[in-house]
């Protein structure tokens, strides 16, 4: 399809897009849940009791052998508990046949597990089809979901998974899990297989999505930083499936409940607090932007007027960052030459944690982070100074807790 047609299609999709009226999350409660494999002496999960509030992201984190995946899989009965009970919205998960239960719970895994023989549209339609929805309703839902996860339905619906990139597949995996509008989603290291920069973007996207859909999410990871970033509440498990601490990321970092938790979250707890705050929590600096071909004199005047900035940010005609131009390269009287631009650090997003932003900025010679929106347009700049300022104060983090209803 020619490019301009695709753009019109996308615009149309946006126009007809109706707000989601999805069911919000349900409370998931573990009551004295124990899992023993075979006749092993030591249980894999030991007398677990905790409650996940409706609409929250609960991250299960722990070393290998801590039973975090087992705990997650007991919610949809891919693994059945030896004793104790799990309820969703007050209802015992054992009260439904396992397959009925699973169709009502979203499931996302690390390798995504898209069906290679089905198109993207058919993949998303899998659970609605199992539930016997009418074709018209399924087609509508598929479009709505692809739109929701940022994939143009017209472009992607009829492709096969093998034609997609890793990040696109992961987004289809999320859309597929949301298809039948389940109150609860299980996510097993969903971003574990992508590189750090794309992982940051996928995490940010997912957090934005979660603000819209407000599902109850059980999220498994072995990465403490990911847990701090994603969680409303973290459940830290230790070897033998014992719950070591269950609390908000802030509380766990401030007051680790045991030596184990303290060791597990790491000696760099101070630094990890950087994972609590987001780029959007900082006051962004307005950049001086220049475009290729504009008179250098104009650019120089604006840069000087802005004060102590040493670099101007070169952007393309869609406001996307291209690179930095040094004040010293703006002395002549010609036009702005894109060839003089030096590449800056990888752009970050408002949802990026300060820790990730800092690590990206330190890797570059120009230590200014460019903050961009979902369409990669420049929103502002973040400096190392602003981050160290934020470190001095207690992390300003908005309350992401959702009132359980």
């Amino acid at each position: 399809m020619p490019r301009h047609v695709a753009i019109i299609e996308r615009a149309k999709g946006g126009l007809y897009h109706r707000p989601m009226q999805d069911a919000a999350g349900a409370v998931v409660a573990f009551e004295h849940v124990t899992k023993r494999y075979g006749n092993a002496d030591a249980p894999a999960v030991d007398d677990l009791t905790f409650t996940i509030r409706a609409g929250e992201i609960c991250v299960l984190v722990g070393p290998s052998g801590s039973g975090k995946t087992t705990t997650m899989k007991m919610v949809n009965r891919l693994i059945e508990p030896t004793s104790g009970r799990i309820t969703i919205g007050g209802r015992d998960v054992m009260s439904l046949p396992a397959v009925q239960l699973r169709r009502r719970i979203g499931y996302v895994i690390q390798q995504v597990g898209l069906f290679p023989h089905l198109t993207i549209g058919e993949n998303v339609a899998v659970v609605p089809r199992l539930l016997g929805w009418k074709p018209g309703r399924i087609a509508e839902r598929v479009e709505e979901l692809l739109d929701l996860v940022g994939l143009d339905p017209a472009t992607f619906k009829d492709r096969y998974p093998s034609e997609l990139s890793g990040g696109e597949r992961q987004r289809v995996g999320v859309a597929r899990a949301l298809a039948a509008d389940p109150p609860v989603m299980l996510m097993d290291e969903p971003f574990g297989a992508v590189d750090p920069i794309r992982r940051d973007r996928l995490q940010n996207e997912f957090l934005r999505l979660q603000e819209k859909v407000r599902k109850t999410i059980v999220f498994v990871t072995h990465d403490v930083d990911e847990a701090i970033k994603m969680a409303d509440r973290i459940a830290i498990l230790q070897r033998g499936g014992v719950l070591a601490q269950y609390d908000t990321p802030e509380a766990i970092l401030a007051n680790p409940a045991s030596d184990f938790v303290e060791r597990f979250v790491g000696a760099d707890r101070g630094l990890k607090r950087l994972s609590l705050a987001r780029v959007r929590d900082l006051a962004l600096v307005e950049p001086v932007t220049v475009r290729a071909g504009e008179p250098v004199a104009d650019a120089r005047r604006r840069l000087d007027a802005a004060g102590d900035l040493r670099y101007a940010l070169l952007v393309d005609d869609r406001e996307r960052p291209v690179g930095w131009i040094d004040r010293r390269d703006l002395e002549h009287d010609g036009k702005v030459d894109p060839a003089t631009a030096v590449p800056g650090p990888q752009p970050v997003q408002p949802e990026t944690t300060l820790r990730d932003a800092l690590s990206v900025m330190l890797a570059s010679s120009v230590q200014l982070g460019v903050v961009v929106d979902e369409r990669d347009r420049v929103l502002g700049l973040v400096s190392v100074d602003a981050i160290s300022e934020a470190l001095r104060e207690p992390p300003a983090r908005e309350d992401r807790t959702v009132a359980a209803t």
Partner: protein, 222 residues
């Protein structure tokens, strides 16, 4: 003999009806053998999936059947099921398909990625739905590859059944060509069988592509 031409085209023209009839018989013997062989192998494969420890003994028996010389098998079967009985031929032919087909069906199922199975279970497929809607379509290319090899093998083997009075195109090779020293008939039977094998082979390649557009596109993407 000396003034006999290499190929007597007039004989071929005179015997077109007979050639067509024997070709039909050849195709029928092949299709029945591969069809029944596939059903048995598929059943065995499902059994093995459920009881994995049966794999070694079943594949072992298939291997033994496959290694019996066809002549010996006919010699053993004729006293039981009789000469000129298609049943005699099919028992032998089917037993040769089992090993090829069973191995490919198992390889097809084993090739379904674990994450795809886990996703299917997690989304609430029943075992039966998972088998028919997920595993079978994904395993299909490997299974069709097995059908292709089995069919080509059986097209060749059918000619041997001429020894017990059947044989399809093998009739021309054995009964006319060999027993009556008539080269033209040998050529008709041999070339016919080879063409049939090539035709079947190409047919399966096309079938495989038609059944698995997703696999073809992946190849294009690589």
């Amino acid at each position: 003999m000396n003034d006999e031409p290499f190929i007597r085209w007039d004989w071929i023209v005179d015997n077109l009806d007979e050639i067509g009839r024997r070709l039909g018989e050849h195709v029928l013997l092949t299709v029945i053998a591969v069809g029944i062989g596939f059903l048995i192998s598929f059943g065995l494969a499902l059994l093995i999936r459920r009881y994995r420890r049966l794999e070694a003994p079943i594949v072992g028996v298939g291997g033994i059947l496959y290694s019996i010389p066809s002549l010996a098998l006919f010699a053993m079967l004729v006293p039981i099921t009789g000469i000129q009985n298609p049943l005699t031929a099919e028992i032998a032919l089917v037993s040769y398909t089992i090993l090829i087909l069973l191995r490919n069906i198992l390889a097809g199922f084993d090739g379904v990625p674990r994450d795809v199975l886990e996703a299917a279970d997690g989304m609430g497929f029943t075992r039966t739905q998972r088998l028919w809607r997920v595993e079978l379509p994904i395993a299909l290319p490997v299974m069709v590859a097995g059908l292709r090899v089995a069919t080509v093998t059986i097209v060749g083997l059918v000619t041997v059944t001429a020894l017990i009075g059947l044989g399809g195109l093998g009739y021309f090779i054995v009964d006319v060509g060999y027993r009556r020293f008539f080269l033209t008939a040998t050529i008709v039977g041999s070339v016919g069988a080879v063409l049939l094998a090539i035709f079947a082979d190409r047919g399966f390649v096309l079938l495989q592509r038609a059944l698995t557009p997703w696999a073809a596109r992946r190849r294009a993407a690589d």
